[in-house]
């Protein structure tokens, strides 16, 4: 949907000017999900109304509601993913419901942003991009936000003091937290299923200037990552390289960059770029 109709100018215009768009993440609306009980109940009400009318209903679906909240129409995602089909449903709603058209009710804003985090935490933004269109989905790059809290940053900088040439292995738990999201766009995004056959991430101080040190990061990894939610013996293999600028006294990250030099998965090539959101 995101690479298809939700990137289509006509549909974007229709949604912004004549609708109130909203998406709901199934995991949040599951019984143990983070959505409120009222939200879950409201979504169930919509589904129930669809069932009562014998309309297409499902958890990966499009629903159009009238301004009074009752169902106007539904489309299975396989249909909705085709721009002409979705456009036809939206135009039918505009024609029959005669909404008050105008500017978007909610101003558009970037949907990928750093999560709320504790003071002294470091949000890191990861982008995974297919390089050859093989082995994984490749319509658009995918992202993650990884947050290192103060304790994790302390673990990251293991040595007590730093001078040019100081070398250390990044704490395994912290390296795992970073590297476990080094995979391309796949159906499976449950990183608890990832298994490392090999991982290393080392830092070497190359310069210190006025209390700010720069360390070069180098490592490599081999990690089993299933494309779908079942074993398929697919592995990420990658070499990684980067650098971290940090206050060597306070052990605070000023800037961190980590990229794959060579990365493969499922017979295709991809790349990862990880960078800190600079706050200082």
């Amino acid at each position: 949907m995101r690479a298809g109709p939700l990137s289509n100018s006509k549909i974007i215009d229709l949604l912004n000017h004549s609708f109130v768009p909203v998406y709901s993440v199934n995991e949040e609306y599951a019984p143990a999900g983070s959505a409120s009980a009222e939200e879950k109940a409201e979504r169930e009400r919509i589904f129930k109304e669809g069932y009562e009318r014998h309309w297409s209903v499902g958890t990966v679906h499009v629903y159009v509601l009238r301004p009074d909240g009752h169902l106007f129409g539904t489309l299975h995602v396989a249909e909705a993913a085709r721009a002409p089909k979705l456009s036809a449903l939206l135009e039918k709603a505009v024609t029959e419901l005669n909404p008050t058209s105008g500017q978007p009710i909610v101003p558009p804003a970037p949907l990928s942003h750093p999560p709320a985090c504790e003071k002294d935490s470091v949000p890191l933004h990861l982008v995974a991009r297919s390089l050859d269109g093989r082995g994984a989905w490749n319509e658009f790059p995918v992202e993650n936000w990884i947050v290192l809290n103060r304790d994790e940053v302390n673990k990251f900088f293991a040595p007590k003091t730093f001078v040019p040439g100081t070398t250390w292995d990044i704490d395994r738990e912290i390296a795992t937290k970073l590297l476990t999201r080094f995979y391309p766009a796949t159906e499976n995004n449950d990183v608890s299923k990832n298994k490392f056959d090999r991982q290393s991430l080392k830092a070497t101080v190359v310069a210190i200037d006025d209390g700010v040190a720069r360390a070069r990061l180098e490592g490599d990894m081999k990690m089993e990552h299933w494309f779908y939610h079942k074993p398929d013996r697919k592995f990420v293999e990658a070499t990684v390289i980067g650098f971290v600028d940090f206050d060597s006294g306070k052990k605070e990250i000023r800037s961190l960059r980590l990229v794959t030099d060579e990365a493969t998965y499922g017979g295709g090539k991809f790349a990862i770029g990880l960078r800190s959101s600079e706050t200082k």
Binding site: L15, P21, T59, H61, L65
Partner: protein, 135 residues
């Protein structure tokens, strides 16, 4: 045989460590020079210099080093390359057109706004995180 492999592996690791250290120092010098706007011929020379021990080791010990192929070098990439690479990988505006849509924060908010503004609600239900593409 095992002992010779072990010695070769140990030699390789030492050479690689030396190479990495020299390469890292060369990078730091280059960063300084670039920061000062100095031409980078010196850097090119440093790159050749920093790689020399490594390539010499590969040439001399290549047949033996295969036993230690678990250790891979990330190559002589400098800091500006890394910075540029991260930038190149960022999603483009065309790839993030979903940001052009004004989404309500949840279903009940959408319904409230729809009622107040006489508009229908477009609801998309899905697995995963459409905002970051991991879905």
């Amino acid at each position: 045989m095992n002992k010779s492999k072990s010695i070769a592996g140990s030699t390789f690791r030492r050479l690689q460590y030396t190479k990495n250290l020299i390469s890292a120092v060369a990078d730091a010098i280059r960063e300084k020079l670039v920061g000062l706007g100095v031409e980078t011929n010196y850097h090119r020379a440093m790159n050749v210099f920093s790689c020399t021990p490594f390539f010499a080791a590969i040439f001399l010990l290549g047949p033996i080093l295969r036993v230690d192929s678990g250790e891979k070098s990330a190559g002589a990439r400098d800091f500006s390359w890394i910075e540029q690479r991260v930038q190149e990988l960022q999603p483009t505006a065309k790839e993030r057109r979903i940001d052009e849509i004004g989404w309500a924060k949840d279903i009940r908010t959408a319904e409230k706004l729809a009622k107040e503004n006489n508009r229908p609600v477009f609801l998309f239900t899905h697995d995963g995180r459409i905002n970051i593409g991991r879905c």
